[in-house]
């Protein structure tokens, strides 16, 4: 007996108030109307998968809809459910197919081989935990900082910061596999579960105490979706803030730049981490910090999450949200728009070019900024 979408996602509580759509960042510029999707789900009408409803792929899984729902309905889960249904039928965009197949074969969605996962560390002395070796403090790099050329400097900067603070840490080296955050949000439940199982085994095998992630996406899924873990997970901004508080990390150099900060959805909205990145920022000498209007809980999603790195938005119109963000930062007169998420970094950098702001502002990761002050 097939479970209806309504039952599966507990949609009957919906009162069609529309707060979800009102808070959905992509509803501003695409056909995704999440209230309508829930309505169809409740009545059993409308397309049953993302193939029939392609705008389901526009969702960035920022979870505004779920946060705002007064009745505890989770529209985002339904949207992901539509994606899962399309995946089970195999009817997905080739770029998504390739990202999923790559993750299965190589442990990362970028189509790169496992052997090259530590290429970012070639010129550095990065400790790798050997077979059975304990790793009390694990630096979990993440697929994007490991492989993507622009964001490799996030990983490299963190290594420099750890060394400066005298931190003893290790990495999983080329045994590190995708955390699965985006995989889950693209709807491939089976692959996600496989990754969870593999990663839990890996962490267990090294008796990992604390995981420090290079990306908020990885932190989000380890912390919230991996179930009971013997390790705890924090994002690097939390780790650096603690090092600074303890006096272990100090910044001898000045970085004389005006900066503003973009709160990544998976750091801020999903996990409430707003203060620690700001603590790190304010500890860097020379930095002049000004808040954007839409900051913290009100930050505007850059449209990089929820699988959007691997699929073009369907029927989009107008200014991309990342372009709006860049324009906001330029209007503030900021030299740097700082972020602490590799997807935000890539998406915002693209937006600098497409919004015609090249030369007016630079997108810098928090770790890169801190490393500049070493």
């Amino acid at each position: 007996m097939r479970v209806s979408l309504s039952e599966k996602y507990e949609l009957l509580g919906c009162i069609q108030c529309g707060r979800c759509t009102a808070g959905c960042p992509v509803s501003l510029r695409t056909h995704l109307n999440v209230r309508r999707v829930v309505y169809d789900g409740m009545l059993g009408t409308g397309p049953k998968d993302a193939k029939g409803r392609p705008e389901a792929w526009n969702c960035t899984t920022c979870s505004n809809c779920t946060e705002r729902c007064p009745k505890g309905v989770k529209p985002m889960e339904l949207v992901i459910g539509l994606r899962s249904a399309a995946i089970e039928k195999g009817r997905i965009e080739p770029t998504i197919r390739d990202a999923l197949e790559s993750t299965l074969k190589h442990g990362n969605p970028w189509g790169r081989i496992r052997d090259k996962r530590m290429e970012w560390a070639e010129e550095l002395n990065v400790p790798v935990a050997g077979e059975g070796e304990a790793a009390p403090l694990l630096f979990y790099v993440g697929c994007t900082p490991a492989y993507e050329p622009r964001t490799q400097s996030i990983a490299q900067s963190l290594v420099a910061l750890f060394e400066a603070a005298g931190v003893e840490y290790s990495t999983l080296g080329t045994a590190e596999s995708c955390c699965g955050n985006e995989i889950k949000r693209m709807g491939e439940e089976g692959l996600f579960e496989m990754l969870v199982e593999g990663n839990r085994e890996e962490f267990g095998g090294h008796a990992v105490g604390t995981i420090v992630t290079g990306s908020p996406h990885c932190m989000n899924t380890f912390k919230n979706e991996y179930g009971e873990m013997s390790s705890d997970t924090i994002h690097y901004s939390q780790f650096l803030a603690a090092l600074i508080r303890d006096g272990k990390l100090t910044f001898p150099k000045k970085v004389e730049k005006k900066v503003t900060f973009h709160d990544a959805c998976f750091l801020g909205k999903h996990n409430g981490i707003y203060d620690e990145p700001r603590e790190v920022l304010s500890s860097i000498p020379g930095v002049e910090f000004e808040e954007m209007d839409r900051s913290r809980e009100r930050a505007l999603c850059c449209e990089g999450g929820g699988g959007r790195m691997w699929v073009e938005a369907v029927e989009e119109r107008g200014e991309r949200l990342a372009e709006t963000r860049v324009n906001d930062a330029v209007a503030l007169g900021a030299d740097y728009l700082v972020t602490a998420c590799p997807f935000c970094l890539l998406t915002l950098e693209d937006a600098v070019k497409t919004s015609g702001n090249e030369g007016k502002i630079e997108i810098i990761d928090l770790a890169e900024l801190a490393a500049m002050a070493l």
């Binding site: 089970e88 195999g90 197949e101 790169r112 081989i113 491939e188 089976g190 496989m194």
Partner: protein, 262 residues
């Protein structure tokens, strides 16, 4: 419209630095992910598309070790109804023609209207199996096929020749077609789908079941013998420009300027 698709599991070698194993007759496969031979994946998709339009079943057939059942399961997850593995160490080391003979024997008693297979294997670079299989089965063939249209008791195919010229042929069924990449966009097989398919049976055939003697198959039954693997001679070819990306590009830009391209 029942279709047989012959598939092969191959290592993925695109970005990898290969090593030749001791003995010099194989590569070190450890660390190389295994996958379906790309052209076979297109052949499988074509078969699934045809049977979606013309009622029928897809049977996947492979000759390989136990790991190749992964490819069969993936194919079943995508929609293949039946899977057969020719499973017997005696088939090891067979060349294209020997493999074709083994596959033909495996198809004894199987009812099919059409046989599809990838036109080439990405590991050994051979383009033999499909065409040889047709001859052994006594049915017509065409290879490097980029278009297939099913008609009444026949197919109209487009073969891709050098320069992108298409040769159109009408071939009666049953026949064997060697499928070229790009003919369609293969679908995805989910992990849950593959897990479900793992519960289904894969028939395993040994040489005895197929009425073949040991000297007609595998290495013993092959006309060609692999003697040695070596790396192509280095030292000839490009002058490599060293340095960081800006350094190396700087050198290249100078060279291009000297040659009048800039």
């Amino acid at each position: 419209m029942n279709i047989v698709v012959c598939v092969k599991q191959v290592p993925e070698t695109a970005e990898a630095e290969l090593k030749i194993a001791a003995g010099g007759k194989s590569i070190v496969e450890e660390g190389l992910p295994l996958q379906i031979n790309e052209p076979d994946n297109y052949a499988l998709e074509e078969a699934l598309l045809i049977t979606e339009d013309h009622d029928g079943d897809v049977t996947v057939l492979t000759l390989g070790h136990e790991s190749s059942e992964e490819v069969l399961r993936m194919s079943m997850a995508k929609g293949a109804a039946t899977a057969i593995r020719v499973a017997d160490p005696v088939f090891d080391g067979g060349d294209g023609i020997a493999t074709a003979r083994a596959l033909a024997a495996a198809l004894e008693g199987v009812e099919y209207d059409l046989v599809l297979t990838g036109c080439m294997a990405s590991d050994d670079g051979n383009t033999q199996v499909g065409v040889a299989l047709a001859e052994v089965l006594g049915i017509p063939h065409a290879t490097y096929v980029t278009q297939v249209e099913v008609g009444d008791g026949e197919v109209t195919v487009g073969r891709e020749l050098e320069g992108g010229l298409i040769e159109k042929l009408k071939i009666s069924l049953p026949c064997v077609l060697g499928i070229q990449t790009g003919i369609n966009e293969p679908r995805y097989a989910s992990i849950m789908g593959i897990a479900k398919a793992s519960k289904r049976e894969i028939s395993q055939l040994a040489s005895g079941d197929m009425g073949l003697s040991a000297d007609a198959v595998g290495e013993a039954g092959s006309g060609t013998v692999l003697e040695e693997l070596t790396f192509p001679p280095a030292g000839e070819g490009a002058e490599l420009l060293e340095g960081t990306p800006p350094e190396a590009s700087g050198k290249l830009a100078e060279i291009l300027k000297e040659k009048g391209f800039v």
